[in-house]
Symmetry: C2
Subunit: 316 residues, 2 copies
């Protein structure tokens, strides 16, 4: 199987990226199209199929294991993606699995991007040989993928794994979802920016509207790396919220390891050191020693393609 | 299989109860011994075996499907029970599965009491036909059992399902476990008593030490039923903590239903009405309509025996 290749597709709001991935997790070929460049859904799907057919030709007959597709709003049970979630110009669920399997005669697996990342960690990353993990993807939001006994957890609704919307501070900061005190409101890139702004306000040194407007999480990470205590405290607040939510998640599923991925995690110990502290302090004694907390071993730039490729091996 | 009987054993700190249970969940025979009456472990296990042999004889050859054992500290992976958890006079883990299978030639399944209750709900209760549920058992503590795709969730450590120790109010009331703000500190029988005492103190009407000493959760339930607003508020506080913890648990595992069992839940709507409200308010919009919240359908007095009996059908 190591020599059989997987075709992986990472659908985002800006780009739709294609990869041809071998069994060792090497991306041997890649290309991309602009998700927004197509006026009709048929044209968009046509462009997807064209790229797949090209990869398939490269591999020769019988050389492709399958197609894995990761997207925000990807639904494993239905095999479709929610067009809204990637700003596609239609409203309905796009039945990509059904269409591509019919047209291309290859097995297709669709899932959301965080689930794909979790399975990517299992197949190509730091979770090789493990059966029970939790994957956290920090970015615009806080995504999560849960693997139980070697299988991705989808639950009754198909939408299991939304740890970003766990209430961590009841009555706290308002989240994108409209509720209050969600993990995402503190530990996403936006959340870390808001932690930083709030801390500066408490210190009587609020940012100007122009500064506040252009502030990025990356800048806060750079400030923290250069020794700025307020920037470090903004990360500590994110780590506190995430530490509590993860210790609570361990109470439920008792994983062997938790992996942290995504832009805001690139700062390494600036996040991971306080995160380990807060996690450990909120972890029930029963689980001490049975669970590790670590950064994702997938290379950041390839994580989405490797995750989608891993889905080809996903057990139903 | 319906006519094949299960032998179920519910081991508690006071009594060890035996049941002979048919495939419809009728307990056709039962008896009990005092858990503390035995000076040595060998004597205690001897008494257990004596009762099993008697049930086995009642059923004739081939008439017993297996033995299911539920106990606080029951460990599914190891097949043993933690003697400490039921106040048995030894310190080690008692390998009940190994001993009983060797001596009695019947398959034995051991698990903790909350997991047994969850599986009991699946086999004999309100979750028949479901694949994904969460069971909450309210009592001295707050226990939980999680069923994923028809199987009990044990996780990497074997100790998955400790929702009672989820941090709901960071920095809040101290829990039995030594940490702060756990669900159990607000929603167990003790927690509800403490909610009530705290509310009375805030009203400037603290209980006398003698009253505080003898206060029970059952009394608070009776007061609430008779219209006492402070008693109702003590239950509302428990429901608020439980509603948050359960909405967070849905984010992780997306069950079809959540069942609530145990003494403090016997008050019915006094708990369930505010619980549904707080749960719904903290539930991510994605899950609205996909999960129900209800009282356990197992008869309270038989729940532990039926749960242990159900373990005989537990998929590995």
């Amino acid at each position: 199987m190591e020599n059989t290749k997987r075709i992986s597709i990472d659908i985002g709001g800006t780009n739709t990226v294609f990869g041809l991935v071998d069994g060792n997790g090497t991306i041997v070929e890649r290309c991309a199209i602009k998700t927004q460049d197509y006026r009709t859904m048929a044209q968009y799907i046509g462009a997807i199929e064209e790229n797949i057919v090209r990869f398939k030709t490269t591999c020769g007959n019988g050389g492709v294991l399958g197609i894995g597709i990761g997207a925000p709003g990807g639904n494993f049970y239905k095999g479709c993606i929610e067009a809204k979630a990637v700003n596609l110009p239609v409203k309905e669920c796009i039945p990509l699995k059904q269409i591509l399997e019919r047209d291309l005669h290859l097995p297709v697996t669709v899932d959301n991007d965080a689930n794909a990342a979790a399975y990517g960690e299992m197949v190509f990353g730091g979770a090789a040989g493990m059966r029970d993990i939790i994957m956290i993807t920090l970015g615009t939001g806080v995504g999560s993928g849960i693997v139980i006994d070697g299988k991705l957890l989808h639950g009754y609704s198909g939408l299991a794994g939304e740890l970003g919307h766990s209430t961590v501070f009841p009555g706290g900061r308002t989240c994108h979802c409209g509720r209050k005190g969600c993990l995402e409101a503190y530990a996403s890139a936006d959340g870390i920016c808001n932690n930083f702004k709030e801390l500066l306000e408490h210190q009587g040194k609020p940012l100007s509207p122009a500064q506040a407007e252009t502030l990025t999480c990356k800048q806060i990470g750079e400030l923290a790396a250069s020794g700025d205590p307020t920037a470090a405290a903004a990360y500590d607040k994110a780590a506190y919220a995430l530490g509590i939510a993860l210790a609570n998640a361990v109470n439920l599923s008792s994983p062997q390891a938790i992996f942290i991925a995504g832009g805001p995690a690139r700062v390494g110990d600036i996040l991971m050191k306080p995160l380990r502290k807060h996690f450990s302090e909120h972890l029930l004694f029963l689980y001490h020693g049975s669970v590790t907390l670590q950064q994702s071993a997938l290379p950041d730039n390839d994580a989405a393609l490797l995750g989608a490729a891993a889905l080809c091996q996903c057990k139903k």
